[in-house]
Structure formats: C-alpha cells, structure tokens
C-alpha cells in the first residue's frame, strides 16, 4: 500500500517533518510518496532516510518514494 503526501509549496524543514509524522502511520513494508518542490528536499529527504534507517525507493521530479523498513 502507498500513501501520498503533498508537500508542494512547503519549505524546509516542513516536508521532512510531515514525512516523519506520516511514515509511522503506514505498515512496515508500505510506502509514502512525497511530492515536494522545495529545493532542499532533494538533499534532505534522502538524508532523513539514511539517518532514520528507512528505505528511499526512488527520488526525482519533485517526487520521493519512501518505504517503511522499521
């Protein structure tokens, strides 16, 4: 299952905060697709996944797919 999270128009660190609040609401193995056009998200969403040990499935075109691993 996948949950969409529209963060377009939001500036850092809001997209990452919303991702951090949303990911625990999906089951382990499910994904959250973040839509974010803030330039900082391109670095910060992958960095969040690394720091919080979650899986970045894909990134690009203002769209980031993150899988809950734990």
């Amino acid at each position: 299952m996948n949950v969409d999270l529209d963060c377009r128009g939001l500036l850092c660190p809001l997209p990452v905060i919303k991702l951090a609040k949303t990911l625990p609401t999906v089951a382990v193995g499910d994904t959250v697709t973040v839509l974010a056009d803030d330039p900082a998200a391109a670095t910060d969403i992958p960095a969040w996944c690394r720091m919080r040990s979650q899986e970045l499935v894909s990134a690009g075109e203002d769209q980031y797919v993150v899988r809950r691993v734990s």
């Binding site: 850092c12 660190p13 809001l14 990452v16 609040k21 670095t43 960095a47 720091m51």
Partner: protein, 428 residues
C-alpha cells in the same frame, strides 16, 4: 595628516546595518560642503539601533562565527592606525611621500609572500578574496585559451569560483565528508580543453581539507588554482599549486585586502583594462595602510598559530562529541580529523535553521547556517547538498583567537534545550 578621529578608537563593533536605512543624516553630512566633524552617528551599534529589549545580553556575547569575520587582530589595528598617517601617498610616485608608501607596501608584500611560500614578486594584492579568485582564475584561463576554456573544480568550492567558472565548468563531486573524489578529479583534469583546475585548500563551511598535493600531481601541466581563503592563518599552506588566493579578513586582517599568488612560469593574461598597478591584476589605487595591517595580522597570527591550533582542535573535538551525544537525530558533518582546526558544522533534523540561529543569538551566541531558510535564494548550501548531508537545522561554529573554553562549554550546554524547544514547536 591629522590623527584619526577619536570616535573610531576603542570601538571594534561594526556599523549598524540599520543606520543607512534609518537615518539620512550621515549621507547629508558626508556630502555637505561644510561637513560636520562629528562621526559618532557612523558608529551607532546594533544594541542601540535594534528593537531588542535585552541590551544587557550584548555585553555577554559569545562570537562563534570567526569563519565569516573576526575582529581585527590587535597587532593589525595598531599597525593600521599608524599606517593611515604614514602610508597614504601614491606608491608609484617618485617623491619622498610616494617612496615611503612604496617602502611600506613592499614590506607588507614581503611578509605576506613569505607566509604563503612565494617570492614577493609572485604576490599581488587585490581588493578582496573574491576579487583575487575572479581575476586570478580569469587571467589564467585567458592565457590558456588555445588549450581550452574549461575550469575543472570541486562541487564544494566557494561561490566566487563557481560563478567565475560559469558555463565552461566541469564539476567534480565530493564524498560524504566533503572531500573531492580524486579519481573523478584526475579524469576530468586530463580531458582535452581544460584551462585550469580549481580546488580549495579546505572547505569554508565544513572544514574538510582537500588533497592539494595529490590534485597538483594529477593535474600535470594544467595549472592548479587553490582558494586558500578558509585556511591561511589557521592551517599549514599546502604546496604544489600554481596560483593561490586568500583573504585578509579571515585571519584577523582588515576587509578589502585579498592575496593572489602566481608562481613564476604560470602564464596570465588579464582580460580587462589594465593599469600599472599589480601588473594589471588589481587595477586602481592601492590601500597601503590595509595591506600593512593585513601583513601585521598574519605575522601575529602565525606566531600564535601553534597554540591556537592545539586549542581549537581540542575544543572543536569536544563540541563534536557533545553535540552528537546530547542531541538526538543530529548529523555532525565534515572530516573529524583531517580538517581546519577551528570549524565545526552539524545539522539537526526537524529544525528550522533560521529559528535556531535566532534562538542562539537571543542567548548571546553568534553562529552561521547553511540552511536554505537562512539564504537569500531559499537554496540550501551547495556544499551540504554536494555532500548529501542534511541541509536544514544547520549550524556552523567557528572559533576565533579570543574564544574561551568557557564559551565553548556554555554553547554545548545551551544548545540541546534550544533544539528541543524548536522541535517541540512543530510537534517533534
């Protein structure tokens, strides 16, 4: 010449950013045909001009942004005040006053040249570090136009390098610590059409040193341009480069003095209207007093370097350890060992960088940040982005020669509570 106006003496505080907006009087006085000799209004301070009610805190300031600017070194200040009176004439004139100015600027040049490891006739004085980068890179590129126009550079160079390289650039990535990928650099610099390769001595935001000797070896016949602005006065000057740029205000010298060292055998072709100054590399009337102050600051700084290096390294290690231990979800970035002695950068998850800088400022701590919300463009620091590390909630701490261990410890004690408070405001 008269002595400098007394209001300047005893004040190292900057002119308030508010005065030019809020008061018309300084402009009128400066342009009046019957000038007022009162200059006190020029020295209005932030504590007078701001709306901050807590003026008492201004006296307890802890300045941890030495990498942006340091107060002038006392040796430089003393030198500047006397050089203003003795070194005002035009050093290219043949009269006594001109020869005096020439002698003084030659003295300054000799000291500065020795400090960066070149002969005096290989050192040019420019109007800033940025001017040294722009003119140096441009002149070397122009001299090699037959070979090509490409400037190979790391992704974490100062913006002055990136802007000068412009369209004809080949950018080389860095690793997670901010160190250039040497294999990719070697590959890029050996391609056809490369005019010059640019690599900083150490990074200005995260402190990581770059492998200059190895890069110079890889570059072969391609001149290596080293932006050493972050390191001169703080760290050993690397070897192997053809051209080096530095900036006096980074070592406690005055603003408005940059260094451009060009090793003999490196061809340069300034592509702008040249005059008789600095072989055309820095047109316009030279600032002899500032050049002397820059030299005095660097000389004094190098005499203190060993002690400061030891102290700053130990304290930055301590901040690194405590930030990582006392704050959850924090990323401390940059090389922990192979680095500048005085700089540390870290990023806190879920924290707005501007909010953290402002909260620290209210507690008396001055730091800088590479977060997007603290920049004018809303783009995060290109250095942090190139490293692939967290860009929001970013803080750079940089220690000056006056920084005390007590200040460092108080910073470490205050920071975790502020981060916690800002996180709580967004429900984290």
């Amino acid at each position: 010449m008269s002595t400098p106006p007394t209001p300047a003496a005893g004040h190292s505080v900057g002119v308030s950013p508010h005065w030019s907006k809020g008061h018309d009087a300084p402009h009128r006085d400066l342009h009046s045909s019957t000038p007022s000799h009162s200059t006190e209004h020029l020295l209005a301070t932030a504590s007078e001009g701001s709306t901050c009610s807590s003026v008492s805190r201004v006296s307890e300031r802890t300045y941890l942004d030495a990498a942006s600017a340091e107060p002038m070194h006392p040796a430089a200040r003393e030198m500047l005040l006397s050089a203003v009176d003795s070194g005002w004439a035009d050093p290219v004139r043949l009269h006594h006053e001109g020869r005096t100015a020439r002698l003084l600027v030659d003295n300054a040049r000799a000291v500065l040249a020795e400090a960066v490891g070149v002969r005096p006739d290989e050192l040019y004085l420019t109007t800033s570090g940025t001017a040294a980068i722009q003119s140096g890179l441009t002149a070397v590129r122009a001299a090699r136009s037959r070979v090509g126009a490409t400037i190979v550079h790391s992704a974490v160079e100062h913006s002055a390098v990136l802007r000068t390289a412009g369209e004809a650039a080949a950018e080389v990535g860095v690793d997670r610590l901010g160190r250039v990928e040497l294999d990719a650099f070697t590959d890029a610099v050996r391609r056809p059409g490369v005019a010059v390769a640019a690599l900083q001595s150490a990074n200005h935001e995260v402190g990581t040193r770059q492998p200059i000797e190895a890069a110079a070896a890889a570059a072969g016949d391609v001149p290596l341009f080293v932006d050493a602005s972050a390191s001169v006065g703080h760290d050993v000057v690397p070897t192997g480069w053809s051209v080096l740029a530095a900036s006096a205000h980074k070592w406690g010298g005055p603003a408005g003095i940059g260094l451009l060292a060009v090793k003999k055998g490196t061809r340069i072709a300034p592509a702008w209207p040249m005059d008789e100054r600095e072989d055309g590399l820095s047109p316009g009337f030279p600032n002899v007093p500032n050049a002397l102050a820059a030299a005095a600051a660097l000389q004094a700084r190098l005499a203190e370097a060993e002690e400061l290096d030891k102290r700053h390294r130990a304290w930055i290690d301590e901040v690194r350890r405590r930030v990582a231990a006392d704050i959850p979800d924090v990323e401390v970035v940059g090389d922990p060992d192979d680095r500048l002695p005085h700089i540390l950068t870290f990023s806190c998850l879920y924290v707005d960088g501007e909010a953290l800088v402002t909260a620290l400022d209210a507690e008396g701590f001055a730091v800088s940040s590479g977060s997007a919300c603290t920049s004018s463009t809303l783009r995060p620091s290109h250095v942090l982005a190139a490293m692939g590390v967290l860009t929001h909630g970013n803080v750079r701490v940089s220690l000056g020669r006056d920084t005390t261990h007590d200040e460092v410890q108080r910073f470490c004690a205050v920071l975790p509570g502020l981060v916690q408070r800002i996180r709580a405001e967004v429900g984290m």
